[in-house]
């Protein structure tokens, strides 16, 4: 699953203009990485495109940290 982690790191680093090394699972999108609600929604769109998944609305609402996003993506990829 480190492949997912790497891909997610790259997407987040690119979108939010942060260092990929700073994108670790415990980081909060809003508090640590400077994302606002629009950025988070845009990131979900990027994840969906990158992994060929569709993230349900209720899943999105639970994503606070990078780890939350990775868990949700792993689950949806496994269900594919």
């Amino acid at each position: 699953m480190s492949e997912i982690l790497e891909k997610v790191q790259t997407i987040i680093a690119d979108k939010l203009s942060v260092n990929p090394a700073d994108v670790t699972p415990e980081k909060s999108f809003s508090d640590d990485l400077g994302a606002d609600s629009l950025d988070t929604a845009e990131l979900v769109l990027d994840f969906e495109n990158a992994f060929g998944i569709k993230m349900p609305q209720e899943e999105m609402e639970n994503i606070i940290t990078v780890g939350d996003a990775i868990n949700a993506i792993e689950k949806l990829v496994a269900e594919k």
Partner: protein, 405 residues
């Protein structure tokens, strides 16, 4: 109540012939043409395949990549020209009362390209609605001024004006009036446009408004020339820092000039064509002079709209002749659009970005150009379709004295 006086204390520009005021000005004096083959899209199948695009602007030198994702090029251009204008004004951003600083920018269309690109992507993805949350903040026009106020924390009046080719003129007019009334101390104003895209070129082509001089595009933008065949699409932005005179004096600002009057009218003739007799253009000039307490004989120079369309240039000449009468023959007239192309809503801002400090005003008229009789608004020789004996050439920006009819 006594109206406040309003002065210009800063300028910035991003244009097809220069990405700041100094570059722009130097290019104007050299007579550089900003036109080239369209690079923003493949224009192969279009009637017009050239435009005046902004060139070599390394946008990430000005705006962080993260912010760029949320900005249409029209907002990016306005931001860059505003950064330059603010720096030029010497306004101390720590000291200024930000509740009294406004931002009013003109744009004819706003985030047109972002809108079009997203619609294309939607159709190409079999109409599955996967729109970016950034989309509407790129499309809506008001974010142009919004981005500027967010960056600097300016909390005064904040909006855009849209009035086609007069958008920026209206923005400058609104800023002027608000400052006169004492509703703000400083207003960042001007215009921006970024519509070199398939929809704009195709749409204006359908209206037969654009030049199609593809085989000689460098000479396609030729305001007041007999053989003009339409305008050349441009893009870019220009910003003026307008300020109450007392505020400018109190902070020891360098003052470029005073804005002393505005006139606004509508000609009710046709949805796109100007009234052939130019009556409303004439009226707005009279109102502006009245507002500013200036007699027609005191006017030395007019940077004309001069889009190089057959109808527009002619109506404008007639309007000037009717407004100024005998004095029309003594006016210095030209149009910088021969070099920049037509920036639509941003036009009035870039056309106005310099006359207050126009070095050419102190030059003798260009006799050689006079003798060639090539650009003669007031003679109205545009009416005649006589064959040209000499090829059209771009001339450096020098003021042309118009011969008596």
């Amino acid at each position: 109540m006594e109206l406040q006086r309003v002065v210009i204390t800063g300028m910035g520009a991003v244009t097809p012939i220069g990405n700041n005021v100094d570059e722009y000005w130097a290019a104007l004096l050299k007579g550089v043409s900003g036109v080239g083959p369209i690079t923003h899209f493949n224009p192969e199948k279009f009637d017009t395949r050239f435009a005046c695009e902004v060139k070599n602007l390394n946008i990430t030198d000005f705006i962080p990549k993260k912010s760029l994702q949320r900005m249409d090029p029209c907002a990016q251009f306005a931001m860059v020209s505003t950064m330059e204008a603010l720096q030029d004004s010497g306004l101390d951003l720590e000291q200024v009362n930000k509740e009294r600083v406004g931002v009013i920018i003109g744009s004819g269309i706003g985030g047109f390209t972002s809108m079009m690109d997203s619609a294309i992507a939607f159709v190409e993805s079999n109409r599955i609605p996967r729109f970016s949350p950034y989309l509407l903040i790129k499309v809506l026009g008001d974010v142009i001024s919004g981005h500027i106020s967010l960056k600097y924390g300016f909390e005064g009046p904040n909006y855009i004006t849209s009035a086609a080719c007069a958008s920026a003129a209206n923005a400058i007019g609104d800023a002027f009036h608000l400052l006169q009334l004492g509703k703000a101390d400083v207003i960042i104003t001007g215009g921006t446009e970024a519509s070199v895209n398939e929809t704009a070129i195709g749409g204006f082509n359908a209206m037969h408004a654009l030049s199609t001089r593809n085989d000689d595009y460098v000479h396609a933008s030729r305001p007041f020339d007999r053989d003009r065949d339409g305008f050349v699409m441009g893009e870019g932005a220009a910003t003026l820092i307008l300020e109450r005179l007392d505020h400018a004096l109190a902070r020891g600002a360098r003052i470029y000039g005073e804005l002393c009057g505005i006139g606004m009218t509508a000609d009710t003739y046709h949805i796109t064509a100007p009234a052939p007799d130019g009556h409303s253009a004439s009226a707005s000039m009279r109102l502006a002079m009245q507002d500013g307490g200036i007699r027609p004989e005191e006017v030395d120079y007019i940077n004309m709209h001069g889009t190089s369309t057959p109808q527009g240039d002619l109506a404008e000449c007639i309007a000037i002749q009717n407004t100024f009468g005998d004095h029309a023959s003594r006016l210095l007239l030209n149009s910088t659009k021969s070099m920049t192309g037509h920036l639509l809503g941003a036009g009035p801002a870039i056309d106005r970005g310099h006359p207050q400090v126009h070095p050419a005003q102190h030059r003798p008229p260009d006799h050689q150009h006079r003798a060639s009789g090539r650009t003669h608004p007031a003679r109205l020789e545009l009416l005649h379709r006589r064959p040209r004996t000499t090829p059209y050439q771009h001339r450096p920006l020098q003021l042309l004295r118009v011969r008596r009819p």
